[in-house]
């Protein structure tokens, strides 16, 4: 019923737009600023997109991601600057690294007074909205309209807050019946129905999916039912010795433990996993890891399938409403995620699975179809790109750069060749670290200190370096830091790392304990 009604409405809007265009077509096209539809999911990592190769590529449902990719450009090397939800979202809005925008960890809030891309565009004639996951605690600022999940949000019958009820008691917030990804799409399309067609828009549609607990709507219950999903080669990496890492990381056994807790007492656990009870405690470690991998990755891909079909609904809407031509459509994820690689789940680490942001952009007016680019793009570049499309000067406080020319296939000669990364929320299994990645190598320093970070462990770890040859060892299975063959390259990269830290003002000058560690290790 809803779809019928919707398509009826969209057709009418389409007609109206066509009539509007017909009168003075040429002029409007040239003058009209493009709409920006930024669709972002949570943790929907490149390995589960199907267009980034990998063992899952023949298993994921990605017809609409492919549809976007065929019509636009895919970034092979878009990287996150701090691979965890809250900080990554803050970086995308502010164009700043965590040390500038003040959002370092999951527990931090974005200050509503800080400058963000929505403010910039809204002040320059854009209608703007954010719908779905926000997670930045305080009230969104700069958007004409927001309808955001409370906190992480839940998958079923999600609770959303608007400016009408944001500051009211929880009873006043809106419960929307249905599955989160469907609901967020419905609300996004509904907002598009309401706005003026004369002004451009910025719409940020942020799905909760595919975040833990990796849930999905009933229509995917039987997807992958009786099949085995292939395993990544490093699934049975059990110990630091295998790779020469200095820390154990978030191993799948921790996810098994979570499933077990939730199976024992579903009401006590913080989230509701589908398909419980699930136990591995009677299995040997190999069998258990295989079992938790299968459950986890199937749920993850089902959750992803619901994103893909909702992207399809959005693309269909744009086409039937006539908005497609003048709307830049982006689909990305706030960061990557480990799907069993290294025996891990979760994100946070500088390794590629977690570091890489899958990213596709379609804007047929100036972006070629079906191309991929290797340039290093950072999440802080996204607002710079939007500002560029909107014809707004980029404020000097924003640290990113527009990659509009790169997307056209005209990469500026002086484009960056190094990505700087920093993860702050220290815990011994995944220590605080920073590092750089270029086309060939990665160098990371796990300093292992909580500093004054919220939600961090005071238990420190012994500082350790890691180095990977991304050509010889693209899966990062061998820490080659002590390999004499790379001594010279590592030395050069340390200098580059210091340079990058200086560029972004991330020098730890206010932390004496870091100064002490750094003084010792730069050599």
């Amino acid at each position: 019923m809803r779809t019928n009604k919707l398509s009826y409405i969209t057709s009418i809007i389409g007609l109206i737009i066509c009539f509007a265009c017909a009168s003075d077509k040429k002029e409007i096209i040239e003058d009209k600023k493009p709409n920006i539809l930024f669709i972002m999911s949570d943790d929907h990592t490149s390995q589960a997109w199907g267009i980034y190769d990998g063992v899952l590529k023949d298993y994921v449902q990605n017809q609409n991601i492919e549809r976007l990719a065929n019509q636009g450009v895919v970034l092979n090397n878009a990287f996150c600057t701090n691979s965890i939800c809250v900080p990554s979202r803050a970086a995308i809005l502010t164009g700043q690294y965590s040390n500038k925008n003040g959002v370092y960890t999951l527990s931090d809030a974005l200050n509503p007074d800080s400058l963000n891309i929505a403010k910039l565009l809204t002040n320059n004639g854009y209608q703007s909205a954010i719908i779905g996951k926000w997670h930045l605690k305080k009230e969104p600022s700069g958007f004409d309209y927001y309808n955001i999940l409370h906190d992480q949000g839940r998958y079923w019958d999600p609770i959303l807050r608007t400016s009408e009820n944001f500051h009211k008691d929880p009873e006043a917030w809106d419960v929307h019946k249905g599955f989160s990804t469907d609901v967020i799409t419905d609300l996004s399309l509904k907002w598009l129905d309401t706005i003026s067609k004369e002004q451009p828009f910025l719409l940020m549609t942020h799905f909760k999916a595919t975040h833990e607990p990796f849930d999905y709507p009933e229509r995917f219950n039987d997807l992958y039912k009786d099949i085995d999903i292939p395993e990544p080669e490093s699934l049975f990496d059990f110990s630091t010795e295998t790779t020469g890492r200095s820390f154990i990381g978030q191993q799948l056994e921790n996810l098994s433990w979570r499933y077990e807790q939730a199976s024992n007492d579903p009401d006590k656990w913080w989230c509701k996993y589908p398909g419980l009870p699930f136990y591995t405690n009677e299995m040997d470690s190999i069998t258990a890891r295989k079992a938790v991998y299968q459950k986890f990755v199937k749920d993850f891909m089902r959750s992803g399938a619901a994103i893909d079909d909702n992207i399809g609904r959005i693309l269909d809407y744009l086409e039937t409403s006539g908005l497609a031509e003048n709307t830049i459509v982006i689909y990305t994820a706030d960061q990557g995620y480990f799907l069993g690689e290294h025996g891990f789940f979760d994100k946070r680490l500088i390794y590629d699975e977690s570091l890489r942001m899958p990213f596709v952009i379609r804007y047929p007016k100036e972006i070629p179809a079906g191309k991929r680019i290797d340039d290093i793009i950072l999440n802080i570049d996204f607002p710079a790109l939007f500002a560029d499309y909107a014809g707004v000067d980029l404020p000097s406080s924003m640290q990113g750069e527009s990659f509009r020319e790169n997307l056209k296939g005209q990469t500026p000669k002086d484009w960056r060749t190094t990505a700087y990364y920093r993860y702050w929320q220290h815990y011994p299994v995944r220590p605080g670290h920073f590092g750089i990645r270029n086309a060939n190598y990665k160098l990371a320093f796990f300093y292992g200190q909580a500093l004054d970070m919220t939600g961090s462990s005071k238990e420190t770890t012994v500082p350790a370096w890691e180095f990977y040859d991304m050509n010889k060892d693209p899966k990062e299975n061998h820490n080659a830091y002590n390999d004499p063959e790379y001594a010279e390259i590592i030395q050069e990269m340390k200098i580059e790392l210091q340079k990058q830290r200086a560029i972004y003002g991330d020098t730890d000058s206010k932390y004496p304990e870091m100064q002490e560690i750094l003084n010792e290790v730069w050599n």
Binding site: F236, S239, E241, T242, N281, E282, M283, D284, S285, I286
Partner: protein
């Protein structure tokens, strides 16, 4: 005849005394050849045993538990009979003349390979007391445990090790499973189905896994896991580590079943081994040597006992105990007096388990008038020489003292285990009075148990130096 009469008397006694309704179930898990150092909770950094570590955390761990012999058959004979070796005559596995004849100075005492039917085993007592008794896994003391008090036998034969850890098993008392089925998994499946069938009865499950005895056989992917893991100095065999992990997860399955059936409040769970670990497979350092020798590595074993309703969790006992103690422990549990004819050499452990005080001051003894050759091709020093894991002798432990006596050369060794768990410094010369007193205890014990000492020279012996 005599045995039948005894059993009749025994059952009459039990009937007249009235059967207590809340006798606990007993699950006795024996891992074949599992060494004292072979669990994470006993100090291994290479082997992974989360389920047994958890069992430890829920019960009492013994640091100084002993098997009554340094290899399988005599240790099991001791467990089931409650008697020291001289009383049942099972001193070793197969012949007592193992090793080159020219290296053996004495004619050893002949070995007994089958536990004499006249002995009333603990299984017989429990069965007569109304327990459903089942033996699952290795038996080794005759053709079939059913002749020694077990209602059910799964996979028990006279053989001391499996022909294969993967189906087809070629075991006359175990139907083959699907090709490639793993024996350790299979035995647990059998045990789980037994527990489900008899959950409302009172049962004694003698869970005597074939693992981790040779021929080593582990699951391929688990072996690979341990090949990738940094080994420790003495634990470095990936196949053995894989067997240990598979064993551990199966022990986990068994315990989980007991938990799911709500039986742990009324079930005494014992986890242990029948002798030390095989030194060339899994080094038992800091203990000296391993399976087959009567140094600590050969006889000291892991022991964990859990009984949720009765035993305090996370407790540790340092009291030296021996597997002969289980027979009288079980008797006391079922409020059954010992009966006149069969001497029991152990003591009930209930005072320790229930935290009700100490057990009677005593010595532990081992008597092994036999030769056991060194593992072929491996010339690791076996403690006293490189040809034999042990030569004929006796040992004893009293408090912190460990005394060895060897009959070929009348050698005496005395060690202070508190200071020298590795038995490196022989204190016999330094403490002559202590040595003499301990030797007297040993001689008295041998006299009491009529322990035979080999004295006849071996004509085939060739003196080499």
């Amino acid at each position: 005849m005599k045995k039948e009469l005894l059993l009749t008397l025994l059952s009459l006694f039990i009937l007249t005394s009235g059967i207590s309704q809340d006798k606990p179930n007993i699950v006795y898990i024996n891992i074949d050849d599992l060494g004292w150092t072979d669990l994470a909770c006993y100090g291994s950094s290479y082997y992974e045993t989360p389920n047994i570590d958890r069992l430890k955390a829920m019960g009492m761990q013994f640091t100084d538990a002993y098997a009554s012999a340094a290899n399988c058959a005599p240790s099991r004979a001791g467990l089931l009979s409650g008697q020291y070796s001289p009383r049942h005559g099972v001193y070793t596995v197969n012949s007592s003349e193992r090793g080159k004849a020219t290296d053996r100075k004495l004619i050893p005492i002949p070995n007994t390979n089958t536990l004499n039917d006249s002995i009333i085993t603990i299984a017989e007592v429990l069965k007569k007391s109304g327990y459903i008794t089942a033996s699952m896994g290795k038996w080794h003391l005759g053709e079939d445990p059913k002749s020694q008090g077990f209602d059910i036998n799964i996979g028990g034969t006279h053989a001391g090790h499996p022909k294969s850890y993967f189906s087809p098993y070629k075991n006359k008392n175990l139907e083959d499973g699907p090709i490639g089925e793993y024996l350790t998994d299979r035995l647990t499946n059998e045990a789980i189905s037994f527990l489900n069938t008899y959950k409302t009865d009172t049962f004694f499950l003698y869970m005597t896994y074939y693992t981790v005895h040779t021929p080593l056989g582990g699951k391929k992917d688990l072996i690979q896991k341990y090949q990738n893991k940094t080994a420790s100095q003495h634990h470095n065999n990936a196949t053995y580590a894989a067997m240990i992990e598979a064993m551990d997860s199966n022990v986990g399955r068994l315990i989980n079943t007991l938990e799911e059936l709500n039986l742990t409040d009324n079930t005494l769970i014992i986890f242990t081994s029948d002798n030390g670990g095989l030194q060339h497979v899994s080094g038992q350092q800091p203990l000296k040597y391993g399976k087959g020798a009567y140094y600590e590595g050969g006889t000291r074993v892991p022991l964990i006992i859990r009984w949720d309703a009765k035993i305090k969790a996370k407790t540790v006992s340092k009291t030296p105990v021996i597997n002969l103690d289980f027979y009288p422990t079980f008797l006391e549990l079922i409020e059954q007096q010992t009966f006149n004819d069969q001497i029991l050499d152990g003591q009930s452990l209930l005072p320790i388990l229930f935290d009700q005080g100490k057990i009677k001051d005593r010595s532990l003894f081992w008597h092994f008038p036999i030769y056991l050759q060194a593992i072929k091709g491996l010339n690791i020093n076996t403690g006293r020489d490189s040809n034999f894991r042990t030569r004929p002798g006796s040992t004893m432990r009293y408090g912190k003292w460990k005394l060895h006596q060897y009959f070929e050369d009348a050698a005496i060794e005395l060690y202070d285990l508190d200071k020298d768990i590795s038995e490196t410094t022989n204190l016999a010369q330094k403490h002559p009075i202590k040595t003499r007193k301990l030797l007297k205890k040993l001689e008295d014990w041998r006299a009491k148990t009529e322990a035979p000492i080999p004295t006849e020279p071996n004509p085939k012996y060739i003196k080499t130096n």
